[in-house]
Symmetry: C2
Subunit: 153 residues, 2 copies
DNA sequence: ACTTAACTTGATAAACTCTATCGAGTTTTG
DNA sequence: CAAAACTCGATAGAGTTTATCAAGTTAAGT
């Protein structure tokens, strides 16, 4: 599982939306500036997340985007799978995007058996972590640093 | 960590060489046929593994390749890192191939903190599994299937 | 109604990576 | 000295990634 910029931007945008959950809609402009993401590209990505049903938008003057689901219900696995495809390191061990490989016999392939373990390890984390938890981490990390700054002053 | 064909071929070739460890050198032709790998491409890959010091070659009429190190000493992590680059899902959590990301503050980035965990999970497996273990799995898988076939007959 | 900020959709283009293939050369064995 | 095999560097075609643009649609506020 290699996360491209596209996927990374998506997660970063979702954190912003997650932290804003329950409030009014956020314009793309704001998300873009807050996370340093090219606006046009972000537009495309948010659109994609809308198709997936994670995000919803409001048009017009004070329009923008917001989460459609509670942050607790959005797993990183779902987002990444939709945007990037398989989480597995090779196609022949993917559950959702299986593709056969060219080895003589998959059932006797030692590499496949190891890669299955790698896949499990990755999936176990990403299927369990939600946007809500991401937001919590951010809050915690910010809190920590804030405190440190306070001490320094 | 996404394994490209290049990396997959490398591992498959190493299994063949591992199973042959202690014996004479194996010609590319044989490895290529046994694992269904385009010969010219394999050539390039084995060369690369030679540079890394994992494999050695013998030229001439009855030449070929063999492992230079005992299979127990070759970890998948080393091979993949050399051929494919970072194991980490994003550059900003890679130990060996760190690259900064564009987020406003890495130290407060929730995604980074999750991706670190993913990286750890991957590395833990791949740094610990060796070519020798891959070969053992293959032997075991073949043995199992053999037995099953016997029962069927 | 009309202006304006913002979303929507689809096209496209530059850069890069991946997968392979080729050719010409060098080495070694028998 | 011929044959088999490795060596090295170039390169090409396909596909992916990362954007950017233009033209259109929507809806809020006046």
């Amino acid at each position: 599982m290699k996360l491209s910029l596209r996927g990374e931007y998506a997660l970063r945008a979702l954190v912003v939306l997650g932290l804003n959950y329950g409030e009014e809609v956020l314009p793309i402009q704001v998300i873009s500036e807050r996370q340093n993401i090219p606006k046009r590209f972000l537009e495309q990505i948010l659109n994609d997340l809308k198709t997936l049903g994670i995000v919803e938008s409001k048009r017009g003057v004070s329009g923008g985007y917001r989460l459609r689901l509670p942050p607790e219900e959005v797993t990183l696995a779902a987002v990444i799978r939709h945007l990037e495809g398989p989480l597995a390191p090779v196609g022949c061990v993917s559950e959702k995007f299986y593709t056969p490989c060219t080895c003589p016999d998959e059932s006797k392939c030692g590499i496949r058996s190891i890669m299955k373990e790698v896949r499990e390890a990755i999936v176990k984390i990403l299927e369990q972590v939600t946007v809500a938890q991401l937001c919590d981490r951010v809050k915690h990390l910010q809190g920590t640093n804030q405190a440190v700054s306070d001490y320094i002053i």
